[in-house]
């Protein structure tokens, strides 16, 4: 196409004009070449430059989330490979592949194709094992990452939304895992689907309709495998990746939290920029995770589907368990007593013995998790932003609650392995089940109490260390024959970590009275809050104040007057303490 223009009278006015030449952008001038070309067309230089210069703090526990991220990516890569050969069909076929003990056996195409991947596709078994190990590692890392975020209080304002997103991600990841576990259509996964059908049936009133909807008819039907396949490779991965992107974008937006230390405040981030340090570290860590998972997958078998044989509703194998992340729900079923099944009006069965573990517990765990930041905010009424992490000991009740929760979860999870424990430890499965039934109620309070007391003791030790320094191991003998151990003050930067946290005290309801002096009862929510606040903070051990530090020095000198003359080192460290005290003031 050519452009022609008709001459117009006013053209003369533009005779002297020269065409406008856009100057190259700053990035183009700087790097030129391809990067400049891309930037001219996308304007990417600015945001990329911003990201490259972004500073992240350094701590090994911040990499737990990275393990989850990388495991997820590995699952996506290996999963794509598996879709090239997997056939999501319940159609009947007769196996004639290279695994002899199954030759001539009737099975579904899904199972036959999984066997085909395992035995006849080069590297297929390896990729399948990486996929499965990475999935287990993903769920493990998600949980451990949650531990880190919880115990350091990283869920506090402004990160509550991200905590909720993370909880949803954790829930979706285990559902995604279950969908994948169900696809090979071997005896184990078929048993899992059979169990799932049973769980759904226990939903009051709508249960049987739901099962018919999910399975497209009575169990097992031919619909469930293609449907789970769509959910497993399309629906859930899309939601997971989408939510994960928001999760990570919020981290970038809100900046990463950091542990307290000298020079680290609520308003800065101390660490290294992404380029080059973090890019190298995080990129390298991806390959470490991939390498470790590949090594494990090469050496250790996971889910030997050829051993389980094809699914058939009549057999079941001993040791039929879900993968570990669904273990807590399975364990709950093993613990729930049978008398929770009721027969209403002689017509309707209400299977609470199953529904409580299968339908109630699973969402409940994640709802409680997601709600926790809001409960704590209700107690503390803390409206400030927190970018400095708590040391777990400095919030003993939160740490105790977390440990108690982990204990309850662990009891459920271990209960799912009661049969394996019975044969491997030579115990009675009935005794193990009763131990867990009682333990579910007894162990969490004990663990809470022990954790809380341990935290308080550690806090007291921190105070002790600030006030009296640490034991140097040097025994001084005075001229008149008495002995004492010299205490050395910590360096101010070490001491800072021990005293930086805030003093807390329980929220007290102010005594209110109306104009006639009649006491006015406090609002109900205030009373609840006050009670909870006492639970959290009544026996708090607060950090050493500058005044206490100064007093300790005087006291220390008195003590030394009793014990003997002040050694030179003590004087020196005292002056350091004074410096710290000044800084604290």
């Amino acid at each position: 196409m050519t452009t022609t223009s008709t001459p117009r009278p006013a053209d003369a006015l533009r005779d002297g004009d020269s065409a406008y030449q856009a100057p190259p952008s700053a990035a183009a001038r700087k790097v030129g070449g391809l990067a400049g070309w891309v930037d001219d067309r996308t304007g990417a230089a600015k945001p990329v430059g911003y990201l490259m210069k972004k500073v992240f703090p350094d701590h090994w526990s911040f990499m737990l989330g990275e393990i989850a991220m990388y495991s997820m990516i590995i699952c996506l890569i290996t999963g794509t490979f598996l879709t090239f050969w997997y056939v999501p069909s319940a159609g009947l076929t007769v196996y004639d592949g290279s695994y002899v003990p199954l030759r001539g056996v009737e099975m579904s195409e899904a199972y036959a194709s999984t066997l085909h991947i395992s035995f006849d596709i080069k590297g297929g078994l390896m990729i399948r094992q990486i996929h499965h190990w990475a999935a287990l590692m993903f769920t493990v890392a998600v949980v451990v990452h949650m531990f880190r975020v919880f115990f350091t209080g990283a869920f506090r304002k402004p990160r509550e939304i991200n905590w909720v997103i993370g909880s949803v991600l954790a829930l979706l990841s285990i559902i995604e895992g279950f969908a994948g576990y169900s696809l090979p259509d071997d005896l184990l996964s078929g048993t899992g689907i059979r169990a799932m059908a049973g769980f759904v049936q226990t939903a009051p009133v709508i249960g049987s309709y739901l099962v018919y909807g999910i399975f497209g008819g009575p169990f097992p039907g031919e619909m469930i495998i293609p449907r789970l396949y769509s959910v497993h490779i399309l629906l859930l991965p899309a939601i997971l990746v989408g939510l994960f992107t928001v999760h990570i974008a919020l981290v970038a937006l809100q900046k990463h939290t950091q542990f307290p230390g000298p020079g680290r405040t609520n308003d800065n981030v101390v660490g290294y920029p992404v380029m080059p340090v973090y890019a190298a570290k995080a990129g390298g860590f991806f390959f470490i995770v991939f390498g470790v998972l590949a090594l494990i997958s090469a050496l250790v078998q996971i889910n030997p589907i050829w051993g389980y044989g094809p699914y058939d509703p009549s057999p079941v194998t001993a040791g039929s368990q879900p993968d570990w992340y669904m273990g807590f729900a399975d364990g709950a079923l093993r613990l729930l007593p049978g008398w929770l099944e009721f027969n209403l009006w002689g017509e309707y069965t209400l299977s609470l013995n199953i529904a409580l573990g299968a339908l109630v517990l699973l969402p409940l765990v994640y709802i409680v998790l997601g709600a926790y930041p809001f409960v704590e905010r209700f107690v503390t009424k803390d409206e400030r932003e927190h970018h400095l992490l708590d040391r777990p000991r400095n919030n003993p009740v939160r740490t105790g609650i977390g440990m108690a929760g982990i204990t309850a979860y662990t009891v459920f999870m271990f209960a799912a392995g009661n049969d394996i424990m019975a044969i491997k430890l030579g115990l009675s499965i009935n005794d193990i089940t009763w131990f867990f039934r009682i333990g579910l109620f007894v162990l969490p309070p004990i663990v809470f109490w022990v954790t809380k007391r341990t935290c308080l003791a550690l806090q007291r030790r921190d105070r002790e260390q600030v006030l009296h320094g640490r034991e140097s191991g040097t025994i001084i003998r005075t001229p008149d024959g008495r002995f004492f151990e010299r205490h050395e003050a910590e360096l101010p930067e070490d001491q800072w970590i021990l005293v930086q946290h805030e003093a807390v005290r329980p929220f007290e309801i102010a005594a209110t009275a109306d104009e006639h002096g009649v006491a006015r009862p406090a609002a109900r929510s205030d009373r609840v809050r006050s009670a909870m606040s006492r639970f959290y903070f009544a026996d708090a051990v607060n950090p050493v104040t500058p005044a206490e530090l100064a007093a300790a020095h005087h006291h220390g000198h008195e003590a030394e007057a009793i014990e003997g003359p002040t050694p030179a080192g003590e004087i020196e460290s005292s002056s350091r303490d004074d410096a710290l005290a000044r800084r604290l003031e």
Binding site: V144, V300, T317, A422
Partner: protein, 270 residues
């Protein structure tokens, strides 16, 4: 030597030393541990009922009664030993040949033992005596239990339908109620597998010839022998116990190794 000396305070030194110590102790034990005597000579059944009776009276009668009529303990319905008339030589060969009988002490279940108390001839005498009390299943012939003549694929199907719910898909064993268990089937001889199916020892049901025909029993034996002998394509099996051990491995070793890497990487400041 200098390099070694320089590393002796390395944080990993104590762990390496411990592993080395454990390894050496284990290796030394394996080298000196006494080997169980291997009795290979198996005489033809002597039909020496009298000899078997004498052995029975000396070793079994305290629980099973002087004439194998069984004995009650007097505590509720607990029995010291069941009556043995009609159990046949197959049951004797299984119970005594796997070291389950004589039991050292009463328990929920007699466990298989590597230390078989009697020689094969003695077991045959005992079997002849028990078989003389009433007719019962005999010890199967070599041909009846020959795994090479069975169909492992068919045997696998029969195994999964009839056996896997207790013995697990790979024959690794499983738990039953109150401390009873289905034992692992790894390394059990074909004859003993056949006898167990035929006689239903302890908590195991009897799979008689109309439940599972002798040919099908041989197929099951062929299946078990095949999975016992085949190499594991996936690597270490973790006991073939299902997802529990896999989860444990992921938590302990997977997480352990990756956290170790994270700590190492985290300590590498720029």
């Amino acid at each position: 030597m200098n390099a070694l000396a320089a590393r002796r305070r390395h944080p990993a030194a104590i762990a390496v030393l411990l592993m080395l110590g454990l390894f050496l102790t284990g290796a030394a034990y394996a080298a000196v541990a006494p080997e169980p005597a291997d009795a290979t000579t198996r005489a033809l059944p002597a039909q020496s009922v009298e000899e078997g009776k004498a052995l029975f009276r000396a070793n079994c009668a305290s629980c099973h009664g002087l004439n194998a009529e069984g004995r009650a303990t007097g505590q509720g319905d607990k029995i010291a030993g069941p009556p043995l008339a009609g159990v046949g030589a197959a049951a004797v060969d299984f119970q005594v040949g796997t070291g389950r009988m004589p039991m050292t002490q009463p328990g929920v279940q007699a466990a298989a033992s590597d230390e078989v108390q009697f020689t094969p001839e003695q077991i045959d005498h005992l079997g002849a005596y028990i078989a003389s009390l009433a007719p019962g299943p005999a010890v199967p012939s070599e041909e009846a239990v020959d795994p090479t003549q069975g169909d492992p694929a068919l045997g696998g199907e029969i195994f999964r339908v009839n056996c896997a719910m207790c013995h697990n898909f790979a024959g690794s064993g499983g738990a039953l109620t109150r401390g009873k268990y289905a034992p692992s089937l790894k390394g059990v001889t074909p004859t003993h597998i056949y006898e167990a199916m035929q006689t239903g020892p302890q908590s195991m049901p009897v799979f008689n010839d109309s439940n599972i025909t002798p040919e099908n029993k041989r197929d099951v034996i062929a299946f078990l022998t095949t999975i016992d002998e085949q190499e594991n394509p996936g690597g270490m099996t973790l006991g073939s116990l299902g997802p529990v051990t896999e989860g444990l491995f992921a938590w302990v070793f997977g997480l352990g190794i990756l956290v170790g890497c994270a700590v190492w990487l985290g300590s590498k400041a720029a």
